[in-house]
């Protein structure tokens, strides 16, 4: 009989709290969750993620539209949206993923390692072939969708439990 280390993954409510805290601190604004199933976006999207490796292995992903990413970046840098440059978008959205991922890492295993953030500016057709989604929460901010999801690697040592 195999013995698996079960780790406790964040619930939807906990994930919403983590993300809204980031917004309150660094964008000085309220972020509202969206609970209704929205139709899948067919437009361009930007994805930022950090990997967590340890007792539980997977990644924390933040997805938004180019417009949403520009607004978040402008808010964090305190610039006008029109002044925002591509490098600043990658920096800001990567840092959002890093902050949320760092908090999640603390919940799934103290000894886990957190990667540096990775950002794909045009991720319309990007998929995660070796992972499946275990948590997904959605928000809307200034009319743009923001999705935060947690993906578990299929060969992760410990099965995540919610």
């Amino acid at each position: 009989m195999s013995v698996e280390t079960m780790v406790s993954l964040p619930s939807d409510v906990e994930m919403i709290e983590i993300v809204t805290q980031v917004w309150a601190s660094f964008l000085d604004d309220e972020l509202l969750p969206v609970f209704a199933d929205a139709a899948g976006s067919t437009g361009n999207r930007l994805v930022a993620w950090v990997s967590i490796s340890g007792e539980w292995t997977g990644h924390l992903q933040v997805t938004t539209t180019p417009g949403g990413a520009r607004d978040i970046t402008a808010g964090m840098f305190q610039l006008e949206a029109a002044e925002v440059e591509t490098g600043e978008v990658a920096d800001a959205i990567g840092e959002i993923a890093n902050m949320i991922g760092g908090t999640v890492k603390g919940m799934v295993g103290a000894s886990a390692a957190l990667s540096l953030p990775q950002v794909v500016l045009d991720a319309s057709a990007l998929i995660s072939p070796d992972a499946h989604e275990v948590v997904q929460v959605r928000f809307q901010w200034r009319g743009e969708p923001i999705e935060v999801s947690l993906w578990e690697r299929r060969d992760s040592n410990g099965g995540g439990q919610r």
Partner: protein, 120 residues
């Protein structure tokens, strides 16, 4: 007071400096480092009074940077500003010579509470 802010994210360095101002911490010069090696070099070469450093950075991590700074004989006031704040990391930071660890996201109040015992 001269403050060295080390973080591989440009926006986070800006936010840290903005939060220091909001917290009413008096400083007259900000130095910046974009990775742990730059932080180590600047801490020794530029003589800051305070180092605020991220943990997870390229080249050298924040904890490696701190250990190298202490090994070189510097006793500069050093605190972490990081997205990860487990008990293990706090203990590791303290053992290496850090005075405090602030977790992201933070507020001006968090900064004030962490820094007040150490700065005027």
């Amino acid at each position: 007071m001269r403050v060295l802010v080390a973080d591989d994210s440009t926006v986070m360095r800006r936010i840290v400096v903005r939060t220091l101002r909001q917290a009413g911490i008096d400083f007259d010069e900000v130095l910046e480092a974009a990775d742990g090696r730059q932080a180590y070099e600047a801490a020794l070469a530029d003589g800051p009074d305070l180092v605020l450093s991220d943990w997870n950075m390229p080249e050298m991590t924040g904890i490696e940077s701190l250990r190298a700074i202490r090994a070189a004989g510097s006793d500069v006031l050093f605190g972490f500003v990081t997205s990860e704040g487990s008990d293990e990391m706090r203990a590791e930071a303290e053992a290496a010579g850090a005075s405090f660890l602030i977790t992201k996201p933070f507020t001006a109040e968090t900064f004030r509470d962490a820094l007040e015992p150490f700065v005027d």
